[in-house]
């Protein structure tokens, strides 16, 4: 289960809509597994079918999180033409990216779909997004 304040869910969905038709990406920091802050990031690839964190921005964000004794809890991104389900590319990157939760937003229809997963050793498990 991933618990997120409504304001964070709204921020992620707004980011996904704003960057549509390109994919958006970002990080939610946490402390002891509780979400604390949203970092909207640039998709360095600016692509409708993929995302890459800008390496300089990611270093700044990681430092900010680490210095505050928080941890990177959630990586989020959007799929703009397909459902909010991890692709093979997502699964491959999940092995090394080190995020406990993968949050996906689909912007293929007017009503955005937001779903969360854990991905361990290539096994995708959907989890409830509990809006608090």
């Amino acid at each position: 289960m991933l618990a997120l304040p409504k304001a964070m869910v709204d921020a992620v969905v707004a980011h996904a809509r704003r960057d549509h038709p390109d994919e958006c990406c970002g990080v939610i920091a946490g402390r002891d597994g509780v979400a604390t802050r949203v970092f909207e990031m640039e998709n360095a690839e600016r692509s409708p079918t993929g995302f890459v964190f800008d390496s300089a921005e990611w270093l700044r964000v990681y430092r900010d999180i680490d210095d505050a004794d928080e941890e990177p809890l959630v990586v989020y991104h959007s799929h703009t033409m397909t459902e909010a389900y991890p692709s093979r590319t997502d699964i491959r990157w999940s092995a090394t990216a080190g995020f406990p939760h993968w949050l996906l937003v689909s912007t293929r229809s007017d009503e955005p779909e937001i779903r969360s997963y854990t991905i361990e050793d290539g096994v995708v498990t959907e989890e409830e997004v509990r809006v608090t």
Partner: protein, 93 residues
């Protein structure tokens, strides 16, 4: 020559949980060889079998991504700091 290396959470299994380790070397390659002598296996997570930097990691020297410097041949000096982070990517394709 002492170079401070910051290790991301996902690679701390190689450093006994340490966030920061110290190493030496006049290039990034030499530094990684030195680290691997004490933290066996860490080099293989950063460098591919054909000897290039793994696409799944970012390595920074003094906050500059080494892909924009000299890659694994980036030269190092005493007091430099090296940071390793997982690269993050994905997407629908």
């Amino acid at each position: 020559m002492a170079i401070e290396v910051r290790i991301p959470t996902i690679l701390r299994t190689y450093t006994g949980g340490e966030k920061t380790v110290s190493g030496s070397g006049d290039t990034l390659t030499a530094l990684l060889d030195d680290l691997d002598s004490r933290h066996s296996g860490i080099r293989g997570r950063l460098v591919t079998e054909d000897g290039s930097l793994h696409r799944f990691v970012n390595v920074y020297v003094n906050d500059e991504d080494v892909r924009f410097l000299g890659g694994l041949e980036t030269t190092l000096s005493d007091g430099d700091s090296v940071t390793v982070l997982p690269a993050v990517a994905g997407g629908s394709r």
